[in-house]
Symmetry: C2
Subunit: 345 residues, 2 copies
């Protein structure tokens, strides 16, 4: 009689039970440790588990008990962006602590890749999902809805999420920065960022920013959206392009600190004084800013915390605890010194 069809050499519960001289059920109970067996039995079963090197087959468990897996699908646009890497780290830490595993999906900022990935992940019956961004393809939304699984949308704040949501209001955040710059007397400003297929948080920030600037009587002379990653070098050459276009901004707002630092370097390279000749403004309060001689004007966002909160919300829901469906992690303006100082009249 073949113990294993595949003959893969794996030890099954039945073998452990037989070796221990008990039934499968008894062995199963011992392994799950819920009680319902004698100490003598426990010891014998565990001894056989050790001797035979038994590794439980969680696939079979998930199948038999219809409890799904302990996997949590996490979609992230790209890891080149430090902010997302931090968010992922926060998620991974917390999930791991609670016995869940992160199944990573890199969407490259496209809804189509996200949809494909969601379809695949769902077929593995995950415990839940964490998705970056608030927009998903119609099919993806339908699949998520009918799966009945807990879902946390992160990064963008979303007052009517699919299920749960944690992030910040990027429009407001951009608006606040715009108003702040107007308050410092800037009227003619520029923007350097990147663009993708779908509207995203960075776009919302830009919109809020532009609104505040025009509301304040200023103008966004030029918005440069590069087809590139939001990292150092695009910030550098983007600034070169911006200045070469002749729009002569008094100040440049960047998609994030990495790009802002690239821009800062370009300005210094061509002899522009910051903030004397031009103002430089980043976003995200990223690690690179911590060592610059002039504090970079930026916006602080707790990315690690955002990830942790997302994981906590999901785990909370899975344990049946009541969970606040929308959490705002907020932001904090960092005045910095890469823009001109406050007027002292």
């Amino acid at each position: 009689m073949s113990e294993n069809r595949g003959g893969n050499g794996k030890v099954s519960l039945a073998e452990v039970a037989r070796a221990a001289g008990v039934s499968k059920m008894t062995a199963s109970r011992v392994l799950r440790g819920g009680g319902g067996y004698s100490e003598k039995t426990r010891a014998e079963v565990m001894a056989q588990v050790e001797r035979l090197g038994y590794v439980p087959n969680r696939i079979a468990t998930a199948f038999a008990s219809d409890q799904g897996t302990t996997f949590v699908g996490v979609s992230i646009p790209d890891l080149g962006n430090e902010a997302f890497a931090r968010v992922l780290e926060g998620i991974g830490d917390k999930l791991g602590l609670h016995g869940y595993q992160t199944v990573l999906g890199l969407t490259r900022h496209t809804l189509a890749e996200e949809e494909d990935w969601i379809r695949t992940v769902l077929s593995w019956r995950p415990a839940g999902l964490i998705l970056t961004g608030r927009s998903h393809s119609p099919r993806a939304v339908e699949m998520l809805r009918s799966s009945g699984l807990p879902v946390v949308e992160i990064w963008d704040l979303n007052s009517s999420p699919l299920d749960m949501c944690v992030g910040l209001d990027h429009y407001d955040c951009g608006f606040e920065m715009g108003r702040f710059l107007v308050g410092r007397g800037y009227r003619r400003v520029g923007y350097v960022g990147t663009s993708h297929d779908t509207a995203n948080a960075a776009t919302a920030r830009l919109e809020g920013f532009a609104k505040a600037v025009t509301d304040g009587g200023g103008t966004v002379a030029r918005q440069l959206c590069l087809h590139d990653t939001a990292t150092f070098y695009p910030g550098y050459y983007g600034t070169e392009q911006l200045l070469a276009s002749g729009c002569e901004p008094e100040c440049v707002f960047y998609q994030n600190d990495s790009m802002a630092f690239g821009g800062l370097q370009y300005c210094q390279r061509i002899g522009l004084h910051v903030p004397g000749d031009i103002g430089i403004v980043g976003w995200g309060d990223m690690p690179v800013a911590s060592v610059l001689s002039h504090r970079l004007t930026s916006m602080h966002v707790s990315t690690l915390k955002l990830g942790r909160v997302a994981a906590e919300m999901l785990v909370g829901r899975l344990s049946g605890e009541p969970v606040e469906p929308v959490r705002d992690v907020g932001y904090a303006l960092i005045p910095g010194s890469t823009i001109r100082p406050e007027r002292v009249d």
Copy 2:
């Protein structure tokens, strides 16, 4: 008769088959598309799949066919280190392309966390594993061995890997940098990096570096290993500590470019001229270096490629292709201009 014990509303193959007026087997064949059914049957089954919103249960499939899952466990020490984030991105991209999913494990540089994570991941019958580093706990090694799964160890090069390996020789890499600095006339050098429980690649680099320096008649006046992450700010304050210790190095070698940039900023802050007063040397040729006015002396490593190669090796093995078990991605010295120029006699 209850169709589903849990009553979870999920549609099963049996229901699709019944609705289409065929047997489960026929429906199964249609869904897997291997042929063996008429066009009329195919159409009817697919129509019902669409109508009922059937999502296959891969857990059941994996269980029934004993084929394991399409998950690949990937362990990474931490994502704060840009190099690892890049490696992970390379892995994720390639695995996704081939229909595998990344199950992420953050080990925080400890073997114990890696062991726990390996145990959990193995119980889900993954298709294979990719592990960062060459050292693993004895139990982890035993589990990996007896699982019979393909395993790729990355980052460190390892002539006798568990199974497969891709990386670079960090000792040699450090040695080459050391010899290079000696060649530029440096004799009294310092080192700033971080340390963890286990010996790792950075340690190997430092050892190779120190060997080359002493071989060349020089001395590593001070090695600073901070209990911190290998990022910008530790580079900054580590340099402060190093210089305050009075060891007066002519040149400082850092664990990576992020730390080196932090050090560079500190030096400029206190008025030290680079490379006139002090040499600054990084490692990894990271993005931040791309925008500095002086090219940072460093060592280029193709992290994205390393990740891709790791994934390709694993996928190759899974498809039964012959795979070279050890791949060296190498490194390339970047002379830069943050150390004193070559002597022209």
